[in-house]
């Protein structure tokens, strides 16, 4: 047991005291239990969906940037998705994917769409080099009546495709697409 010895024996009262460590340990254990029980282990996460909003032109922005291939994901059809590769307004390629939804609890997923997008990116993606700091862009189009859970399911399918990205000598797997949610 820990104690404090101040020496000397001439006083009336004993100056040596024992620190009560056992109650202190009990208190700490109670505190640990309380914190563990009341801790909230969060299951919340987020899915990114940038907005492409036109703004006022900048003075130094005189030349249009080179047009890159973009993947447009159309989920307006009831039976199929359309994957459209576009360069500016020019349609390069169009692929139909059957709309097979897999229910997961109260939500849905589209694993076939995810696999098809991954295969398409491996063939047509412009930014596949790990050293490339740019990312391919995917734009999601949906109709107004679609429930939000289906929108998230398609966003999730787009984010299935991963690529290697090395920054500062450290390589990591990151989503291959930057997704824009179109509000057309």
């Amino acid at each position: 047991m820990a104690g404090i010895d101040v020496g000397g024996h001439g006083g009336k009262r004993n100056s040596n005291h024992e620190i009560p460590l056992i109650p202190f340990i009990d208190f700490l254990l109670c505190l640990v239990m309380f914190l563990l029980v009341t801790a909230v282990w969060s299951q919340m996460a987020r899915i990114e969906a940038d907005a492409k909003v036109p703004g006022p032109p900048k003075d130094d922005q005189t030349v249009d940037p080179p047009k890159e291939k973009e993947l447009h994901v159309e989920m307006r059809g009831e039976r199929k998705f359309q994957l459209i590769w576009k360069e500016g307004t020019t349609v390069v390629n169009t692929i139909d994917v059957d709309r097979k939804e897999v229910p997961v609890n109260e939500d849905v997923t589209y694993p076939d769409l995810g696999k098809k997008i991954e295969a398409e990116w491996k063939t047509n993606g412009s930014h596949r080099n790990p050293a490339d700091k740019k990312f391919d862009r995917a734009i999601l189009h949906t109709d107004n009546s679609t429930e939000f859970k289906h929108v998230v399911a398609v966003l999730d399918a787009i984010y299935v495709t991963k690529r290697e990205f090395s920054a500062g000598g450290k390589a990591e797997q990151v989503p291959a697409f930057q997704v824009t949610f179109a509000v057309d």
């Binding site: 340990i25 700490l28 914190l35 996460a45 987020r46 990114e48 679609t146 939000f148 999730d156």
Partner: protein
């Protein structure tokens, strides 16, 4: 001693004092112990001070992670969709969109029903105003020009809300200066 009269206790020879117990057991390790040649002492002190240090470290860790791990304000009327390929949450204003109303950090900022009844995409004026105020407040707190406004906002949308409402809120947030929009989701297990 056989055949002779046994010695009385007053006639016992003087012997060296010492341990007497266990001497008659014919086991080598017992004899060693009994002779006082044991290796280590049986009595040990429990090291309480390192144990207390360890407990204090756990308490500090739990206290530090207490606020960061959870306590995200999820509106009780919002049932979030789930996604497997989601990333960790970040600090940003949270816009909750339920089936009836729109809230920014718990403050009412518009009606979902009004958008659905209009049946067209529209700017949510109250929401835009609140987000602009938040943006101005951020700029006052961070006056340095080297620190650009991040423009992050997190939309906490109920899974049954139609895309028309999501688009309206999304566009309003973007025009209010928040182009980096994220959707809050529940993390789906890999096995699901």
């Amino acid at each position: 001693m056989s055949g002779s009269k046994p010695l009385s206790r007053f006639h016992q020879p003087i012997s060296v004092p010492g341990r007497r117990l266990l001497h008659n057991l014919p086991l080598e390790f017992v004899q060693k112990k009994a002779a006082g040649g044991g290796g280590r002492s049986v009595n040990t002190e429990i090291p309480l001070i390192p144990f207390i240090d360890f407990l204090l470290c756990i308490v500090l860790f739990l206290l530090a992670s207490f606020s960061a791990t959870g306590e995200l304000p999820v509106d009780k009327n919002v049932k979030l969709p789930s996604a497997a390929n989601a990333i960790d949450m970040s600090e940003a204003p949270i816009v909750a969109v339920t089936s009836t109303q729109i809230l920014v950090d718990g403050i009412p900022a518009g009606s979902t029903r009004a958008i659905m009844e209009a049946n067209r995409m529209q700017k949510v004026e109250e929401l835009a105003e609140i987000l602009k105020n938040k943006r101005e407040l951020w700029k006052q707190i961070h006056p340095s020009p080297n620190e650009p406004f991040p423009g992050n906002v997190i939309l906490q949308v109920d899974r049954r809300v139609p895309a028309l409402v999501v688009k309206s809120v999304f566009q309003t947030a973007a025009f209010a200066g928040y182009p980096a929009v994220s959707f809050m989701v529940s993390r789906m297990g890999k096995g699901e």
